[in-house]
Symmetry: C2
Subunit: 521 residues, 2 copies
């Protein structure tokens, strides 16, 4: 795609057709400027097959706002919409509607609250609340979901891999297998969720990180093809990067060629006053090989070099590698814990594509509409009760127990103040029989999770750099019960609603079931 | 990300750091302008869990070329690289190297051959062959793989879904769950691979398609919140789109509210001289509901309306739906085949993220290097023989049997002419004992698959629009044996090499194993 076309495909028309056709209905009915409220939330944690996540890491919001600041109906976009024809050859969009889009459509009418990026988040909780003219809030849906779904998905996967890797240094390496330009959003989310650095040069620059990388097999191959050996290739690399020297040792034979050659070059480096950084293993049995490689590097007096592992790593593979090292290392006289501390994880494909759960099903649902100054809650009844969203203007509270661990997220109506309640009743959102009551003595903190983000389309919140988002993530993850953090079969975190919200929802369902039978029936 | 930053993150720095660090090694060694040849290929079909693909659809090349035409080292990119520091605070990249990148780096030195987009392709076959100055061909790797891996992945998934859906109309609906801006490349690939249209407005415009879509649940909800009913919402929609009226019938209750209300509005439309298009089902048991809905629409004298199905469809779900309809429809007095012909499939998340196999492992391997005018084949020996790439400059031939079906792809050295051979020997690339011999009477056609794409960086091939790429796909799929096309456990298509290529590879492996022991060993 040419740059010019990218502007078209990534601007305001980065949306689904039905947003625009519905927009015309609203316009024709005079509803387009009616204030509406939509909630963004997801219903299920990513399920990677046998191991479902127990929490998510919220990410992507700042880029949504960046998109909103640039996206608008250009003359070119309007001309395209004008050219759209329906089946009978007449125009899909009329001039008056297109004029309105061109001259009046603006995200300046949008109010937004959201849970900040980097925070731990859970299903059914409104992560983003959008209020604004119906047509504007509606047209925002697709681009908002596209960006928030993906970054939250990847930040979550990164957090899991980081936990599994015991917080050793973790590098994002997935650009070649990522979903095209989504790679950049994915790298950002990985940096929020758990990666320390990425190999992606451009996005590192944009976000203020140093990109990481060493060399590929092709460099060794090029030397070989020219009649030289692996050691000459290593030497050439070490000469140019004497203080950042990580050598890829598996092009020919890791233990019989790569590591011995690397040690030769490391010794030469040391004689010149430089300390090598380490080696990278990209194939074979990474657990077994890292034990042997550690042993060789120790014996050669390079005990402080790192061993970078790559090749289809994810949280389960890391778990397996670590377990195997703990079991096998002692047999070879290698200290397992010391070895684990010198490992660095290069995580590519399975992180950047969220292998096993390649999407997050975040949705954006109309929850209220302003009717003559009154906010009317809106509902959609679904065959599955789980899919019936919570109506109305709501707030979210995280309740911490006496240990300081997060024990539940509570969704209330706006105006409720659970932090002032003597006892907090937590209702299961689906089952009236299930409830928990917490008295004040059991609660150490009731934290409001939603912050005001946009007031009349202007940012009113701080958008700190990635390191701050990481601190949020680390603090939140540390306040999760270990059962929730667990990789396999985590405990289900409680997401509850207040009695008042329960009552509003129940009444709406009753009214809707009663009043909206078919005319034709 | 701001537009300005996107230029940085999507331009020449849309690459892995090691491409640039290796580049400096080549530069320092005087190897940077040495002619090199890289092959792009994949080793395995996407494996979606229980059902691995039996073929792939090649896609993405034109967008790689678009990227190459725009990407170059801007002053800003050079300034960033200049600012990179290593661990000890000295610069990673020296001025002379950066000057070379700025003034001499150019894709004009690239020669490229490739299998055209839309063609059926198989593992280990070079899909793209890049020849050019070592540093330029090396730096191209990441962006090339990023784009070709993803579009081929999605085109393949689309082809499977289309086959499973018996080529009924298929719409791509996945923008909200796609991997951010990768959505656009994904939509293009889906259109090549099997989707007729997409809901994505911007990319439809860029590619010359009419975007498709109706309305969402939120439109019904908005009317309900304002005290009106589903039928009023349908009526408002039908009024504005009388000739494109598809109504979403599952907001309240599909069979008791949605469909009766839709029929009411369809009758009103007909009285005004318009024929409705159909209804959409987005939840519940889609097989059962479509039978009941078909029955109701037939009874109301709307037998020609379509039924659009959506909600997590993929090739297996479609298979299940179709099977269930074939079994259940007769019991309700509905003609299953007629019902199947009126279905339209809206396929979202599972297509645009290639659910079950979220990446394609395409690689880009150095296969030859020019040494004083002589091309020297390059090899990398891997612990797994399957991962040892075929060395040297090669060509690919598709061999059709007497029925006109593709029976094997044959990889030869450049200069070999299998189309002129009296008998063709097909060697299994891994097992010397396995071979097939075809005599001329058994072969109806030997087709060269690689075309010249770039000569000195200039396009020398035609890049037709999507409809032509689809015709290629349809023709190729039709020439596959039904066993290869099968959804579950397909036959393995034969990819073979010639005796000459076998000999070159074997000799290189022998030499490498003999000559490249470690100096330190």
């Amino acid at each position: 795609m040419k740059a010019n076309d990218r502007q078209t495909a990534e601007g305001i028309l980065f949306t689904d057709q039905y947003q625009l056709t519905m927009g015309q209905v609203y316009f024709r009915m005079g509803l387009h400027e009616r204030e509406a409220q939509f909630d963004h939330f997801f219903r299920n944690y990513p399920d990677y097959g046998m191991h479902k996540a127990g929490y998510c890491i919220n990410a992507g919001l700042e880029w949504v706002l960046d998109w909103m600041e640039e996206a608008h109906f250009r003359e070119k976009d309007i001309a395209y919409l004008r050219s759209q024809k329906n089946r009978t050859g007449t125009r899909v969009f009329d001039d008056d509607y297109l004029d309105w889009l061109k001259h009046h459509f603006s995200f300046e009418g949008i109010q937004m609250m959201a849970i900040p990026e980097g925070r731990v988040v859970h299903p059914h909780v409104p992560l983003t609340i959008v209020r604004g003219p119906l047509i504007v809030a509606q047209i925002l849906e697709t681009a908002l979901l596209n960006q928030l779904n993906f970054q939250t998905l990847i930040a979550t996967k990164a957090a899991r891999i980081r936990e599994s890797g015991h917080a050793q240094l973790m590098l994002e390496f997935g650009l070649r297998r990522a979903h095209e330009r989504g790679a950049n959003a994915g790298a950002r989310a990985a940096l929020i969720g758990g990666a320390d650095f990425t190999s992606n040069v451009g996005i590192s620059h944009v976000l203020g990180f140093a990109p990481k990388g060493t060399h590929a097999h092709s460099m060794i191959q090029a030397f070989l093809a020219l009649g030289q050996g692996e050691v000459e290739a290593f030497r050439a690399y070490a000469e140019i990067y004497p203080d950042d020297c990580v050598l890829l040792v598996d092009t020919i034979d890791t233990l019989n060629s790569g590591v011995p050659n690397a040690i030769t070059v490391f010794e030469e480096l040391r004689r010149k006053g430089h300390e090598p950084v380490g080696v990278r293993l990209d194939s074979g049995d990474l657990a077994y090989l890292s034990i042997q490689v550690a042993k060789m590097l120790d014996a050669a007096n390079f005990p402080d070099t790192v061993i970078v592992l790559s090749n289809n790593l994810d949280e389960l593979v890391l778990w397996q590698i670590i377990t195997q090292i703990e079991e096998e290392a002692p047999r070879y006289g290698v200290d397992a814990q010391r070895l684990l501390r010198r490992l660095v994880y290069g995580v590519g494909t399975r992180l950047i594509t969220s292998n096993g759960a390649s999407s997050l099903g975040g949705v954006y649902k109309l929850v209220a509409l302003n009717d003559g100054g009154q906010w009317v809650p809106a509902i959609k009844i679904s065959e599955t009760p789980d899919k019936t969203p919570n109506p109305g203007d709501k707030r979210v509270w995280r309740i911490y127990d006496r240990r300081g661990k997060a024990t539940a997220d509570l969704i209330s109506l706006a105006g409720e103040t659970p932090e002032k309640m003597k006892e907090i009743i937590l209702r299961n959102p689906l089952n009236y029989a299930k409830r928990r009551t917490l008295n004040a003595g059991e609660v150490s903190e009731v934290e409001p999770l939603l912050s005001e983000i946009l007031r009349d389309g202007r940012r009113v919140a701080e958008f700190p750099d990635i390191p701050v988002l990481r601190e949020r993530r680390q603090a939140d993850v540390a306040r999760l019960d270990p059962g929730i953090r667990r990789l396999m079969n985590p405990h289900i975190y409680h997401v509850s609603i207040t009695q008042k919200l329960w009552d509003v929802k129940e009444q709406l369902i009753r009214e809707m079931k009663g009043n909206n039978h078919a005319e034709g029936a």
